[in-house]
Amino acid sequence: MPETDRRPGSRRQASRRVTLGGIPAWVAAVAVIGALLIVVPIVSLATRVDWAHFGSLITSESSLAALALSLRTSVASTALCVILGVPLALVLARTSFPGKRILRALILLPLVLPPVVGGIALLAAFGRRGLLGAPLEVLGVTIAFSAVAVVLAQTFVALPFLVLSLEAALRAAGSRYEAVASTLGASPSTVFRRVTLPLVLPGLVTGAVLAFARALGEFGATLTFAGSLEGVTRTLPLEIYLQRETDPEAAVALALVLVVVAVIVMVVTYGRREIR
């Protein structure tokens, strides 16, 4: 049911007017400042762009390679995040076992760690002399300096976003429908497939979008763990970092591209559902 303004004398639907919805004016004022803090720098970025050469700047060979690599790896990492994150979120939301709290804290650690630290940790695990990397090296498999390393780095930092978002949705949904489904004869796998997943799909999509955005912008862990080679490991953020050395205009132009891609992804996913 649409919310109608309760104030006397106003009968129109509250869809086009500006309404406070009950919050104090000063709270809204502070919110405006908060929004400006984010919006102003981004708008300023747009004013810095050399629009005359924008086209040539972003279509250079290295720029296109970086963009293509970024999109490829981010999509792969998001897929990996979904595959691993859904079971993880389910376990955290629905099961109970000793040490669960510690596990959750560990899973959410990449949110707090500086990405470079994440990169160092990934090296310690998968680098040539790493815990898992050393035996893999013996088998002839090297992960560092490859696109696989990029995907791993991105997944490492993006997974917590998906898990967090999905776990919250699972908790909110509760497990009543699952209980009913099992009394109707559905096996746990069927319940998962036909009841759990469809019910938390919005939360899953939100989590996936957040994970994608985080993966797209990942820099520190990628640089430390995967290295920087055009077309192989030099994602867009790394390309921007490099371009700053000689061609700041190109760096600014590419930065704007990254912003636009992120905005498009967000708007397409968030815009379609709910809360207007």
Binding site: A29, S228, L229
Partner: protein
């Protein structure tokens, strides 16, 4: 009735932002409280801060020189800012308050002189050449520049856009040996990091970097390195409020003391 809340919000937000703007503290008012005993001199000591922007490769040497300068100039604090040369150039161009700048190559300095931001002519005070860095034990047995092109060797270099990278490209062209690195880093530190951790079999960095890295890497010099020499310039910033002090610091760097310290770190004469 519906306009009121909107106007109120914008007004409040505007006022708050203005207040925040007025309250921003003025930068660099020279509060450097120097501990160099001011009780010994009878004349009152003037507190001054000299801001030096220097390339990352000059970190150890300039820190030492800064301490020497502070000792010989009571009341003066030398504030050091180390970063990639290109970063420093953009900082200065944006108006960051620097008195002296020292870069890892002449190209970057040229950007500032061309813009009229440097007082007079910059002086060259050191030069640096490339050296091969390998992990301790040299697992791949790299002994020459040619060895870097060995199949299966994981070599990490600087990207061409960075001074040490352009030097690498010059040597590649001069020798006719093209390297296929697994990574082209934007900072020398990252190259060194990958070598010392054993991720890479070899990396191309500066002689001074190998010196500074101590036992974490081993160095392999190669004759072809003389084909690409990076010369380091130092200059006084035109907008500096302490031009004389800045010149004195510059003199220290180009003088005997400075040259000795630089040589000890591996730098060659300009």
């Amino acid at each position: 009735m519906s306009r009121r809340p909107l106007v109120a919000i914008l007004a409040l937000a505007g006022v708050a932002t203005l207040l925040a703007g007025c309250a921003s503290p003025s930068t660099g008012s020279g509060n450097g409280s120097s501990e160099s005993g001011s009780e010994t001199s009878a004349t009152p000591v003037v507190e001054q801060t000299l801001t030096v922007f220097a390339a990352a490769s000059l970190k150890d040497t300039f820190t030492e020189l800064a301490t020497e300068f502070e000792e010989s100039h009571p009341g003066v604090t030398v504030s050091l800012n180390f970063a990639g040369s290109a970063d420093l150039v953009s900082q200065v161009t944006e108006g960051a308050p620097a008195d002296i700048v020292a870069f890892a190559d002449e190209k970057n300095m040229a950007k500032l002189t061309d813009a009229g931001l440097i007082d007079g002519t910059p002086e060259l005070f050191a030069s640096n050449t490339l050296e091969i860095a390998v992990p301790p034990g040299n697992p791949r047995g790299i002994t020459s520049f040619r060895d870097l092109a060995k199949p299966g060797a994981k070599v990490v270099v600087c990207a061409a856009q960075v001074p040490c990278g352009s030097a690498t490209v010059k040597i590649e062209e001069a020798t006719g040996i093209t390297l296929t690195p697994v990574s082209e880093e934007s900072a020398v530190t990252d190259v060194l990091g990958k070598v010392s951790s054993g991720e890479a079999d070899a990396g191309l960095v500066y002689v001074t970097d190998v010196e500074a890295a101590g036992d974490t890497v081993e160095g392999v010099t190669f004759p072809e390195s003389s084909g690409a020499v990076n010369t380091y310039p130092i200059g006084v910033v035109a907008a500096s409020t302490l031009p004389e002090l800045a010149s004195e610091f510059s003199a220290l760097v180009t003088g005997a003391d400075g040259q000795k310290i630089l040589a000890a770190a591996g730098f060659a004469k300009p």
